[in-house]
Amino acid sequence: MTTMDRLVGAGVDRIDGPAKVRGTAPYAYEQDPGEPIAHLAVVQSTVNRGRISRLDPSRAEALPGVLAVLTPANAPRLGKGLASDLPVLQSLDVHYQGQVVAAVVAETSEIAKAAVGAIAVGYDAEPPDVALSPDREDLYAPEKLMAGFATDSIIGDVDGALAAAVVSIDATYETPTQHHNPIEMHTSMARWDGDSLTLWDADQGPHNIVNDLVTGFGLDAGQVRVISPYVGGAFGSKAFTHPNQMLAAMAARVVGRTVVYELTRQQMFSLVGHRTPTIQRLRLGADPEGRLTAISHEVVEHTARIAEFAEQTATPTRVLYAAPHRRTTHRLARLDVPPPTIMRAPGETPGMFALESAMDELAVVLGLDPVELRIRNEPERDPERDLPWSTRNLVECLRTGAERFGWAGRDLRPGVRTEGRWLVGTGVASATYPTRRRKAQCRISVDGAGRYVVEIDGSDIGTGAWTALTQIAADALGTDMASVELRIGDSRLPFAGGAGGSTGLASWGTAIVFTARDLRKQLDEQHGGQPPAGGLSVDGELPGESPHAKTHSMHAYGAHFVEVRVDRDSGEVRVPRATSVYDAGTIVNAKTARSQLLGGFSMGVSMALHEGSVTDERYGHYVNHDLAEYHVATNADIGEIDISWLDVDDQLANPIGLKGIGEIGITGAAAAVANAYWHATRLRIRDLPITPDKYFRELGES
């Protein structure tokens, strides 16, 4: 290997930045299919459960410019084997409010939308069943959780240990339904050429989408091409196929023309998933020194009538702290709601709110510094799988964070610091997220002049993957970034899983490293280290999980320290400053990584203070289904955020040593805010979001 400055680690500017700023990076809606585009708009059910009794498309069909109206009566039949909400327009049954019951294809989006209003639909409806409660008699234990986690885990005698514990807490936490709301609306543009389908699509991984299209339309994988080079955010809502891809492809087939379907913001509250609400009972038992003797984390959450999605909410509790007796359980209610899906750190995000709030409550009962409580319960090995850690630096994150934040000497007492009208407090919480990687294939070609093309169906949903993968490739090839042309976001490229589970760089990056090694070996051994005049192309593959994943427990960690101010008269909450320190292994791009961690933490503040989809239990819909009423944090809600990471790597996870950074930032963040809120006010808000009125609810004043 030639020695040169490593690009991995540097804060390189986004290579796609100039094109995005100039508006020349084509998102799905802006792609040019090479022919005039027809537009699709949908009619959505206004009931949660029932059957369509009447559906008259004739007035819409008669409107000039309308090309077709698709209904359950005339829509093409899709192949068997599609799950959840993907068999679009295949039946008269309605399973959730917002379900697509008809679709209009027209010359323009305006005509299509106008025609939607001309379609009369009647329903035989039953009352909606949408209220989650731990007292429901129909709660059930799913066979497995998302990502294959076991539904329950029980070690030792939890109830006995809790009863015997000198110190204990028993508290129930609630998180509301949340919606992802990436800024780019889901968009699918479909074009058929004979029996071949091209879909320009906003998704988190073209290969993720291909299979459902193959199943739905009875095609071979070679007949479907999904193209998604630029995606305007996703957070999990674009990981899997949703009705939009099926509808666009169906409609294009019917009208024999390219059809585009861009969701409206409001449709994003019913058609592309949400995070389940959770009700979580936490019980902790400890000895007087604060060593945990028992942990119990029981989760109640919902799923849809037509699809089981079992969020792995209590799984962080299985790894974070030592305790001999432990239990985690998950129970689901099947409700008349749209199918839930993964949303940034599914499981860890709501689960860590509960666990890390409970740890804070325990520290209060013990009269112990909450940082110290966490350090005292640091497990030497994975406490449930009984395996060594690959690397684990949670304690180092806590200690470093405490120092950067100025935690030392913190007064444990709540509600004693004021600055003018502001009650001031500080709080801490840990962060954790699993480190994994997935199968990925890669092709690297070099021409006679030493220019490389790296091809892999990776995905950049705004994370910086374009840049980070190019850095990884340049290092692995021993060249500079300008000599590497990366191609991602196209199902014609070598297979890769989507952007999700913080596995992107671990999977795609590793596949690139392996393939680059092969290429360099061939160059060295067969071509004297120089690219042959006719060029050379090498295919490589990363089979999947790290060989060490079975023998080691692999996770990223972090610690958040937050200052919260609460207006003692109005209950308004501010987060003026925070410090987060991460053990996320190797950081590939210091600049885009900081953005990811900052964004993750900000989303956690947003969860703590603002986000929540309000369900109207009488009519079964989400009341605040737009960005004027579903509040996400604005710039003015985020104060000074100090982001840093430990200089560590995890060689057992992958050859780059990285752990993934897409999700770790949000985990624990809401708990840190809620804990600081308690420290400021003495009030423990256990149901998010912490809105101003809850201050008075807790004071008993309103």
Partner: protein
Amino acid sequence: MDFLQPTSWADALAVRAERSDAVPIAGGTDVMVDLNFDRRRPGALLDLGRVPELREWTVEDGTGGVGATGGVGGSTVRLGAGVPYSRIIDDLGARLPGLAMAARTVGSPQIRIRGTVGGNLGSASPAGDAHPPLLAAGAVVEVESAARGVRRIPAAEFFTGVKRNALEPDELIAAVLVPEAVGPQQFCKVGTRNAMVIAVSAFACALHPDRRAVGTGIGSAAPTPRRAPEAEEFLAGELESAGLWESRGDLPDGLARAFGERVAAAASPIDDVRGSAAYRRHSLAVMARRSVTWAWAEYQQDLRKAA
């Protein structure tokens, strides 16, 4: 849908009279949302953006007969209906401090560049942020039709119901006549985030030392923006009887709080997604107490003599 673009005020009024199916559009920050949500499908849009008269503000002196609540002998700002919030912030912070404070809290920079007070009045939302300071200042809305000419409607009479106003179908809003501040003014707004937020509740107050009066405006806590007349009279009376207008002495203990309670009592809020009725009342009491405390502190420091 037709897009009508008159280039003079007279033409705009003529079009308004002819096309009853036309919806006027100024900044479009409400109209475009309505169209997008399919809340209305007008036959035409009447674009007011090219009517120069609407984009200006001028100062008129006190003899202009501004209406009962106009400043005695003071000047009045004639604020064209199409002046955007960003210009109010840049140009009118000293003359109309309450309105400028409210303007700073509207939406985002983009919305403040497009959005206008005329549009806020046209929408007449109970949560419109311009309304409380206009009420507190005693502003008058000037409307006009081709057939009947000009009408001047005190802001307090302009709001007739939830998102309803006193405008006749053939009328347009020409301007708002706002007396220039002769005393301190304040605006407060509570939202569930720190920007880009529809107020959970809002409150404006104005001290009018020239006529020894207090102005108030309540937002988002009743079917319409409204004043709190009892609170106004109570505070003005207490200030009068204690000789405080002249002495500029400290507010007696509990006066600001008692004022706040009266302001809260004037509201008739509802529970909704943004907040509970109880919270709205409570926050109004807090905002009223605070804003009058701040306003009074400013009055105490203010060395300029009242008119």
